[in-house]
């Protein structure tokens, strides 16, 4: 799916800054994600990676800076509007609605549902039900592909940590996103599941979805990413291909220092 006219970057952010009291969590940082790419974001603990995600998705309002997504500025939008544009984030500690079923978690994510308008729930019952059936099928197909199908009718709260991560990813897929921001998809997940998660990410990427992935697991970064950004103490340290980053002395120092 090459789009010639559109700019090369699906997402680009410049001069992003955010301080919490005295701490400059993100300081004049920039980042960009090429269309159709899997881009990595690494950095030592406390480097400001999660905060950067929060700024990109406007879960936290930046002090300064601009964010362009799909050719349009989005930093003035509300976080739900950013999600509606197709830029969906996940959370470092997977967040699922534990009191809803796994299937309901999936269905919630569907965009532009007729049944989200209460007048239509009353007066267009038929099309609401029809649509719900279709969404269920789609949700079940995605759950099947990630291996959560047996859990579809269980409470999401009954899932293990790794399964929650999977559900969270599967859920973002229900939104038909252009870009998925993954915050440490492999953290606290057993090695076999990590492998499966990586495979899914590659498959979805081939279907045209771009990824920006925060990860401490270097194997994951090296095997998935086309391009990697390094953040340290809130500022850009380096960026380049995984090989370049691996051999960058500054990066090694940032990780080994402190």
């Amino acid at each position: 799916m090459s789009q010639d006219k559109s700019p090369r970057f699906l997402l680009s952010a410049n001069e992003l800054s955010k301080s919490f009291g005295g701490i400059k969590a993100v300081n004049n940082a920039k980042i960009s994600v090429n269309r159709g790419s899997i881009t990595g974001l690494i950095g030592p603990n406390g480097a400001g990676k999660t905060t950067l995600f929060n700024l990109l998705s406007n879960f936290i309002r930046p002090d300064r800076g601009e964010v362009i997504f799909d050719g349009k500025p989005i930093h003035h939008l509300q976080s739900y509007q950013i999600a509606q544009q197709g830029c969906i984030r996940t959370f470092q500690v997977a967040r699922v609605l534990s009191k809803l079923s796994v299937l309901e978690n999936m269905l919630l994510a569907t965009q532009k549902q007729t049944g989200e308008n209460f007048f239509r729930v009353w007066f267009q019952q038929k099309s609401v039900r029809q649509e719900e059936r279709e969404n269920k099928e789609r949700a079940m197909a995605i759950l099947e592909s990630v291996g959560l199908i047996e859990k579809a009718h269980d409470y999401a709260g009954a899932l293990s940590g790794g399964q929650r991560k999977l559900l969270e990813m599967a859920r973002t897929l229900m939104t038909n996103p252009k870009l998925i921001l993954l915050d440490e998809p492999a953290a606290g997940v057993n090695p076999t599941l990590i492998e499966r998660i990586c495979k899914h990410i590659l498959t979805w990427n081939q279907q045209g979805i771009s990824f920006l992935i925060i990860e401490h697991n270097m194997d994951v970064i090296m095997s998935l990413c086309h391009h990697v950004w390094v953040l340290a103490e809130g500022t850009n340290l380096a960026d380049g291909t995984p090989q370049e980053i691996q051999n960058n002395p500054q990066v090694l120092e940032a990780y080994l220092g402190d």
Partner: protein, 373 residues
């Protein structure tokens, strides 16, 4: 006895309606509204004042509900962007403010003298045989609908018991289910038979009011059941649990909260109109914070986020109210001035015990409380 049961049915139904509004706001969306009576005040006063000026009753009620929902909009706009405790505080304040306005703005509300002699629905209506048959038909329809709802709810619960994996079926739960069904059936039957007798032999204004409030309750209950099982209701439930998730998935959380507040407010406004018709004269003292507390009791008792539970809660609440009001004085232990506070104290005690042993309420799902985040 027939007349008394009619009175009880009206009270229960209108409080069920009132509490359904709170259940939508708090039970499903997690909005802490400690001033629910404010919506009722607005609905009641708007309806009686407008209809006194000659506005048709139906239109007066609709305007009352609309203004109540606008009140929800105003409260929501000013507090929903802040932390959730602000809503709790502001709602208490607004409800007291409205009561004080009703008390002091005598040109509008006649203050403490109250509003009297306002039009009542079906006031001069004397049904002939055909009229009575139609009324009994409507009552029958409501009864059948209720039994059908009961059957559906029980069937779902029954199956749920089976489908829980890994755990064996808990027989005690099923016995509980059967007991509750029998109680509910007996209740429906009592109200129905009493209603039929009242319509055919003892028709008066209250009987007509009972029929109307039951019809409205049925319609609103059904509308709410559709809503909470729809994608719309799913968004509300997701907000209740963790609003960051729907936000990250592109839902306008603020707008959904506003809708819940407004819709719940409108329902409470309608309940307010029935409250006024039941009382036949309204005073500011009818809208004390205690009324909000009663709605909370009903919702918590029945199980938050469960409309059928709210109905059950309203029944239990009124049963308790009547039994203690009628029979406690016979014990002769306490004088009347002590009894009033005691009855409320006991409700507090029951709520505390409920929180310890069955925090999910009677019909709530235990899993929903115990599941980890």
């Amino acid at each position: 006895m027939v007349g008394y049961l009619v009175f009880l049915t009206i009270s229960t139904a209108l409080f069920a309606l009132f509490a359904l509004g709170l259940n939508l706001q708090w039970g499903f969306t997690g909005l802490i509204n400690f001033g629910h009576v404010a919506f009722m005040t607005v609905g009641a006063y708007t309806t009686v004042l407008l209809s006194s000026q000659g506005v048709p009753l139906v239109i007066a009620v609709i305007i009352g509900a609309a203004i109540a929902s606008l009140l929800g909009l105003a409260i929501g706009m000013s507090t929903l962007r802040l932390r959730e405790d602000y809503l709790a505080i502001i709602t208490i304040g607004v409800s007291e403010l409205l009561r004080l306005i009703a008390l002091n703005e005598e040109w509008l509300t006649k203050g403490a003298f109250g509003v009297q002699r306002y039009p009542l629905p079906l006031a001069g209506f004397e049904p002939n045989l055909i009229g009575k048959i139609i009324m009994i038909g409507l009552l029958t329809f409501i009864a059948i609908f209720t039994v059908w709802q009961l059957w559906r709810g029980m069937r779902n619960r029954w199956r749920e018991g089976k489908s829980i994996k890994g755990k064996s079926i808990q027989p005690r739960k099923r016995i509980g289910l059967i007991i509750w069904s029998v109680i509910a059936l007996a209740l429906i039957l009592t109200v129905y038979v009493n209603g039929v007798i009242a319509i055919s032999n003892y028709y008066n204004y209250k009987v007509g009011l009972m029929l109307i409030v039951l019809l409205v309750l049925t319609a609103i209950y059904w509308g709410l059941e559709l809503l909470v099982h729809s994608p719309w209701g799913r968004v509300l439930k997701s907000i209740r649990e963790d609003e960051e998730i729907p936000r990250a998935l592109g839902k306008n959380v603020f707008w959904y909260k506003l809708q819940a507040l407004m819709l719940g407010g409108a329902i409470a406004g309608i309940a307010g109109a029935f409250y006024a018709w039941q009382l036949t004269s309204v005073y500011p003292a009818n809208f004390e914070p205690l009324v909000t507390f009663n709605a909370w009791t009903i919702v918590v008792l029945g199980g938050a986020g469960n409309n059928a539970g709210t109905l059950l809660g309203a029944v239990i609440f009124w049963a308790y109210d009547v039994l203690t009001r009628e029979y406690l004085p016979y014990l002769g232990i306490l004088n009347p001035t002590q009894l009033g506070p005691l009855r409320i104290m006991v409700i507090g005690l029951i709520l505390m015990l409920l929180m310890v042993w069955r925090p999910q309420g009677i019909l709530g799902k235990k899993e929903e409380l115990t599941l980890g985040r």
